[in-house]
Symmetry: C2
Subunit: 262 residues, 2 copies
């Protein structure tokens, strides 16, 4: 018996986490969402009760997992009665202290991007755990180890920095893919042409650090190509600005730093 869990939230992260916990033997008591349909859609397959009033949370649960948007956590916390359950949120950028009113509180942060209706392999997802006491840390580490092979203790500051790194390496990266897609459409070419290159760029990271793996005109200090690209982007200020900012970033890191004898 793993424990009784109340899930506060029914979004992508809550859904994937709820299903993973359920499949590992956790008893999901309730699923909360402001929208009854969302609560029901997730509660049903987990054999849990849907609730739409946060005051109805079963405070006798072993765990109350708050998995809502960052901005909503504060308001949710106010509405949950003080209790002895381990209350944990799942947010990267929110400090543990937001949960101070609960005697047993912590953070359970599965570090992955979750998409509705797309299965993820939970065992490969790093989980970062924080707790207000040894007891809470131990319980959350145990929960993490039930789901994943990569569970670590991390402070709020470390978690925040990891989240920031994720914005650079996931959100911003995806935006660059969007811009590349736009460029290809303009030329009547298909995004699938880029997929082998994108895969290879990722695979290289298995054997090289990203610093070592850098290629392209900026790291070659190839001003002719950079100028030609800038001219091609002359009519698109947004792309031109991103092109110049990132080229300058690569140049500063690889060329200037090296000239400085790093």
């Amino acid at each position: 018996m793993c424990g009784n869990v109340v899930l506060v939230g029914a979004g992508n992260l809550a859904s994937h986490l709820g299903k993973a916990l359920y499949s590992k033997g956790y008893n999901i008591l309730q699923v909360y969402s402001r929208t009854l349909k969302h609560a029901t859609d997730l509660a049903h397959p987990l054999k849990a009760s849907p609730i739409t009033n946060i005051a109805d949370v079963n405070t006798k649960a072993d765990f109350i997992i708050i998995s809502v948007t960052d901005n909503a956590i504060g308001s949710i916390v106010k509405q949950i009665p003080t209790c002895n359950a381990i209350v944990a949120h799942t947010a990267g950028s929110v400090p543990q202290t937001v949960l101070n009113k609960f005697a047993n509180h912590g953070v359970f942060y599965p570090f992955q991007t979750f998409t509705k209706n797309k299965e993820v392999c939970y065992s490969a997802i790093p989980i970062l755990v924080e707790g207000c006491s040894e007891k809470v840390i131990k319980a959350l580490l145990k929960m993490g180890n039930n789901l994943s092979e990569k569970v670590i203790s991390a402070t709020s500051d470390q978690r925040k920095q990891l989240h920031l790194a994720a914005v650079f390496s996931c959100n911003f990266v995806n935006h660059l893919y969007t811009l590349a897609d736009d460029l290809l459409k303009e030329a009547g070419l298909d995004f699938t042409l880029l997929m082998p290159l994108i895969k290879e760029t990722t695979e290289k990271l298995e054997t090289l650090s990203p610093f070592e793996a850098q290629t392209g005109p900026a790291v070659r200090d190839d001003s002719e190509t950079i100028n030609s690209h800038s001219t091609a982007l002359a009519n698109n200020n947004n792309l031109k600005n991103i092109y110049q900012t990132l080229s300058q970033g690569i140049y500063s890191k690889h060329i200037i730093n090296n000239k400085g004898g790093e």
Copy 2:
């Protein structure tokens, strides 16, 4: 018999291409490099002759493949005697016209990032072909089809645009990985924590367009997180600038465009 090939260049692209052509039955006559050791190191496994004087190129070859840095192509072209061989370069951003002095000229552009000593699966690499005549296009398409399952005809403009898209989706993406690595090191965390997220970000592209797959604070219009990140980056102008430029780019594309009724 596929044909006789002279390889001009012995860098990453030339090495991978030379080995792929050799393995498919092409007869590699010569490998040119200014540096004898480089020419020999590649020529030896391909049973070719190393040459270091470009005037020694065997103009009786069926194909002369110029695979040197973009800036060096013009000078190499000047030094190769006019001849009837099909002379093709392998560069993304260089127009076919640089080869105008040759009666039969074209472009053979394998669209991938090549790393020394890292094998790539050539059959999955898109190859873009251009030629000054039907005869040249046909011969280069045939060469492409011998190596890869994805060979297309493309104009110089299309190839240039694809190369630009590659800078965004490969070079710039890799730079973002480097910055993420720096952020993690600062926090005493390891880059491997990011790998599942990076892989998932790539895998999503198999089923969603990058526009649809966008996540993160900017697309949620989550100003609280964005401000908190900007504060965390206050002492690093380079990162802060990139953070703001890309967040603004995501915001413009997803929020302003949508409000405008796109």
